[in-house]
Amino acid sequence: MNKYVGFGRIILTIALAMGLRIAPWPGDLAAFNPDWVLLSLIYWSLAVPERVGIFHAWTFGLLTDVLTGRLLGQYALAYSLVIYICLKLHKRLRQFPLIQQGLFIFCCLLLSQLLLFLIKNFQHPAQLHASFWLPVFTGTVSWPLVYTALRFVRLSRSIKTTY
């Protein structure tokens, strides 16, 4: 299997996720917007771990930093840590049913959000609304959606892992 088959698709889905990340939501609903970029990165790192690794996570994290106007390196750090864990556990995680995967995703999103919170606190004592943690829950709920959508994309181009 060619290593580069469907690489454009992978990039495209992540770009789409970045678009969703900054898409305008009506009114206060914006607080519910989950971290689509991390969700798609997790999916690809579980499905094709030899292709989407820490380097991609770091790069897209850096791009997300620019996208959302954060301190550079914030999302890069969070994403690369989460993807590292995913890569370590990907064989086990693929065997899990969706609900059990959801629990793992919840932990990943929580870890990423915790890191962001920590970095924010390092900059200046932050006073955050409780809605800061909402994306963790909505992200977990939307994991099956992301999973099915990206699985469809993956199978349509028969992007397969080599091991």
Binding site: I22, P24, I54, L63, G69, L72, G73, L77, S80
Partner: protein, 279 residues
């Protein structure tokens, strides 16, 4: 590896401005995405404009023309008043700060972080925008440029919890600071003592202290006044004049910080001021 790199990046950017070129380069990849996300909203707006009826357009045109006439006559009066003001200030041996230049920028309907009041507009450093410029709309102060990228810039609204703006009460010149509350329709004035001369309905204007905001623009109207006997400062809230959640067009201001020389060449300054007004 990645972790060390990110921590190094974080530390560098927290302490200095050295990473701005990197951010600028990356923003060339990112900014098209922002425009792409904005596209549906822009298209819908375009479509509504296209299909709005001839009658409605005519009505709007008439209204705008009337409005323009009123403003024009007002401006005539203001020109005379401004001249008088310069003359009087010259008598007081005070320098007078000149008029401003503005650039109209359009809001991109994207959402960066839900708990921060930062918006993105479609004008960046390619148009000469730089950080800490004041941003206005037709009714008052909106915020200041927080970060300028080549194709877009981020604007922090005055209601952001991390934003503070030096203001003065228009009625009596009382100086204070208005801090953002995190709600789009509310500013807080936390630094006024209980006996301060301020009333509900007072207009707050920019004082020009600090140098970021040009003096004299309306910011907010004082709306609530609760004095707590057990505290040193009263808590006063104000409603911003600018329509922070409705306007799509914003004005980025270049304030001319060069003071006018005392009496020499009033004519040159005059024409320049008028030119700015015409823009």
């Amino acid at each position: 590896m990645a972790i060390i790199a990110s921590i190094a990046l974080l530390a560098t950017e927290h302490k200095s401005q050295q990473l701005d070129p990197l951010r600028t380069t990356l923003s060339f990849f990112i900014d098209p995405l922002k425009y792409l996300v904005d596209l549906p909203t822009a298209l819908i707006e375009n479509a509504t404009n296209t299909v709005s009826s001839y009658e409605a357009l005519k009505k709007e045109n008439k209204r705008l023309r009337e409005e323009q006439l009123i403003h024009q006559t007002r401006l005539l009066k203001f020109a005379a008043l401004e001249k008088e003001n310069i003359r009087l200030r010259a008598l007081l041996e005070n320098s007078f700060k000149l008029g401003e230049q503005v650039l109209v920028a359009e809001l991109l309907s994207i959402n960066m972080a839900p708990y921060e009041h930062i918006v993105v507009v479609n004008k960046g450093t390619r148009f000469g925008v730089h950080p800490q410029q004041a941003v206005l709309d037709a009714n008052g102060v909106v915020g200041q440029v927080f970060r300028a990228l080549p194709l877009s810039s981020e604007i922090m609204l005055i209601t952001d919890p991390n934003h503070a703006i030096p203001v003065q009460v228009n009625r009596n010149g009382l100086l204070t600071i208005a801090v953002g509350s995190g709600q789009l329709n509310r500013l807080v004035l936390p630094f006024l003592p209980g006996n301060a001369d301020i009333r509900p309905g007072d207009l707050l204007i920019t004082s020009g202290l600090g140098g970021t905001f040009p003096p004299g623009y309306p910011v907010a109207v004082v709306d609530e006044f609760t004095s707590q006997p057990n505290k040193a400062f009263v808590s006063i809230t104000a409603t911003p004049k600018a329509q922070l959640d409705r306007n799509r067009e914003l004005m980025i201001v270049w304030s001319n910080s060069k003071p006018v020389p005392l009496i020499s060449k009033p004519t040159a300054n005059d024409t320049e001021t008028r030119a700015h007004v015409d823009e």
